[in-house]
């Protein structure tokens, strides 16, 4: 009895996460193994015939190996955007936190505005077209950076506030120039937030569907989420291939997460016991 009373909350939590996360994933995996006929039923059943490998080959070679192009595009997009995000957000957060000027209020307002005001698609497209960035991968990189910058800045600024200013000053006395202070003292201490930021932003950007859809049209410009369209149409959807595709594009974020997960935990506890 007491065992139930003590652990019921954990059991509920495990059950809920099982229903929310694991069951859909199992559904994806099972459907990805089925053939076209059985998958069209969209039910939770055991595959009659396992053809995962055929499905994978089908998906990858569709439309002249489009999925590979998409993977390359998405990877470039994610890596470049997240790198720029981390560097810019940390720098802006550092300057905003450390240097008090009368512009701070305005800048903070702009950051909050960026967080709250929904992006206006059509004017943004006009602007991109005018600058020759529309339907260009680097244009989309700038878009992703712009959309995700406010949140990252807030994250960094809050964390930088916990780093004593004495450290900056000690470094300045030691002969550090502003960039030395930032890259040699502040940035290393920001590692726990940086990891969090990398994980959150890279998963979001990798899985982004709408922004590539709006800002990166055209052949050879597909990102992974857009390849899902290859197998859906109004009259005929190949669910087995669609789910195989989903399975394939879920793997990279999963790897990122598993790789950094331990670091997140390690970073958090290191901060906690530092004293």
């Amino acid at each position: 009895m007491s065992l139930i009373r003590r652990h019921w909350l954990s059991v509920v939590a495990i059950l809920v996460s099982f229903v929310v996360f694991v069951i859909p994933f199992i559904f994806i995996v099972l459907t990805a193994m089925k053939d076209k006929r059985q998958s069209a039923l969209l039910d939770f059943s055991w595959p009659e015939k396992f053809q995962l490998w055929e499905n994978i080959v089908d998906v990858i070679t569709t439309r002249n190996w489009q999925l590979l192009t998409a993977f390359i595009n998405s990877t470039i997009l994610t890596v470049a955007s997240v790198t720029l995000l981390v560097v810019f957000a940390a720098m802006v957060g550092f300057v905003l936190q450390r240097r008090r000027t009368r512009w701070n209020g305005l800048i903070n307002f702009l950051i909050l505005a960026g967080l709250m005001i929904p992006p206006a698609i059509v004017p943004t497209i006009w602007l991109l077209q005018a600058m020759g960035l529309f339907a260009k991968l680097h244009g989309l990189i700038l878009i992703e950076v712009a959309y995700h910058l406010p949140f990252s800045i807030l994250l960094y600024r809050a964390f930088i506030a916990t780093i004593p200013k004495d450290l900056d000053e000690a470094a300045i006395i030691d002969g550090a120039r502003p960039l030395d202070v930032f890259f040699r003292i502040i940035m290393p201490l920001l590692w726990p937030v940086t990891v969090t930021n990398i994980v959150v932003q890279s998963v979001t950007i990798f899985n982004d569907f709408t922004n590539p859809l709006y800002y990166l049209p055209g052949r050879g410009n597909e990102t992974v989420q857009l390849t899902l369209y290859n197998f859906q149409s109004q009259f005929n959807t190949s669910y087995h291939l669609l789910f195989t595709n989903i399975l394939l594009i879920t793997i990279p974020p999963l790897i990122v997460f598993l790789f950094f997960n331990r670091q997140i935990v390690a970073g958090v506890t290191a901060g906690a016991v530092k004293g």
Binding site: L167, I173, D174, G175, A176, V273
Partner: protein, 360 residues
């Protein structure tokens, strides 16, 4: 030679003036202590010397060079912070070597200097540790080591010992004194603790409200404080004060009396004083002695018997409480009446403006 000169240095934050025109000369190799109550601007003054705060007005000269707008790294200074400010992600070795690395010192030279500093501070065995793996005293040493490695002309310390416990503080104080003797560099040390100031300094600068009250050697400040503030601030336990009126003036001698004190003759600089003026009399707890025919009397309100001496709180007639330190062990009861005399006229007179009237 790295002397310093401060000429009418001022600092304001907006409309608030924090440092109100400080003039000071510090010669090479001196150990100078800035002392004063919390918030009087000691740290601000030190940080201006370091180059961490802009100088609002006035001139700062270090080693014969005007340094108002010189970058901290080019001033030939090193600073030890109250919070130590060690780089948490670096080992002790890296903490020591950070400045040299930035200065692109060759690796072998760097290594030698780091190990030299570690030897001076006896922490060679701790070089591979991170700051989080060190005790408070060891962290303090790392902070000092980081300064030593840079071989600065001027060391700046901002309350470096205030985070240590009492016993360790005494040890570190001695180590700092030894360090100063061994290195022979100029050191400027900020503290609010007048005992630290008295024990370490060649020269003490007493600050209050952003104004220099007095500059002098510890003994000078103790024996000839220039004003009421310095008299009250320097010396432990604190000087006792009472208001008195001048009864008569005779050359360098005045006779004063007041609610708490029978007519008493003292030597003082009497220029500008007249009979009937109200002045303040100050005398140190150690300069009072039990004397049945003494001029001061009061009731004992608290007794601390330490064996070699006895601390007595004495409630005087005016309601003021004086602290008296009597030689040897005394059995005194609470409420008992006690007569005191002043030893060898060791009392000071302060005029209405608070200026001391010492004999020339």
């Amino acid at each position: 030679m790295a002397g310093l000169e401060l000429k009418a240095i001022q600092k304001s934050y907006g409309a608030v003036e924090v440092i109100k025109g400080v003039n000071l000369e510090i010669s090479h190799g001196e150990f100078v202590v800035f002392v004063g109550p919390s918030g009087c601007g000691k740290s601000t003054l030190l940080r201006m010397i370091a180059g961490l705060e802009d100088i609002s007005a006035g001139e700062l000269w270090i080693a014969g060079k005007k340094c108002n707008h010189v970058e901290p790294r080019d001033r030939g200074i090193a600073m030890v912070f109250q919070s130590y400010a060690l780089y948490p992600h670096m080992t002790v070795y890296e903490n020591f070597g950070f400045g040299l690395k930035l200065a692109k010192t060759p690796k072998d030279v760097r290594d030698r200097k780091i190990r030299d500093a570690a030897r001076i501070l006896q922490m060679e065995h701790l070089l591979d540790r991170k700051p989080s793996q060190l005790s408070g005293g060891q962290r303090q040493r790392v902070a000092i080591g980081r300064a030593i490695v840079r071989q600065p002309e001027v060391f700046l310390f901002d309350e470096p010992l205030s985070n240590l416990d009492a016993a360790l503080r005494v040890d570190m104080r001695m180590e700092l004194a030894n360090l100063h003797r061994d290195l022979g560099s100029t050191m400027i040390y900020v503290t609010h603790d007048q005992v630290e100031a008295m024990t370490l300094a060649d020269k003490i600068v007493v600050l209050n409200g952003g104004v220099v009250q007095q500059v002098g050697s510890p003994i000078e400040l103790y024996q000839r404080p220039e004003n009421l503030f310095v008299a009250g601030f320097i010396g432990s336990p604190k000087m006792n004060f009472t208001e008195v009126t001048i009864d008569s003036i005779n050359g360098g001698q005045v006779t004063v009396s007041g609610a708490d004190i029978q007519p008493t003759e003292l030597s003082a600089d009497t220029t500008g004083l007249g009979e009937g003026d109200t002045v303040t009399l100050g005398t140190r707890p150690h300069d009072l002695l039990a004397d049945a025919s003494g001029n001061i009397s009061g009731h004992v309100s608290l007794v601390e018997r330490l064996g070699n001496e006895t601390n007595v709180s004495l409630k005087l007639r005016s309601g003021a409480t004086w602290l008296v330190v009597l030689d040897g062990d005394r059995e005194l009861r609470h409420g008992q009446e006690l007569q005191l005399g002043i030893e060898d006229q060791k009392a000071m007179i302060f005029d209405a403006a608070g200026q001391a009237r010492h004999m020339a």
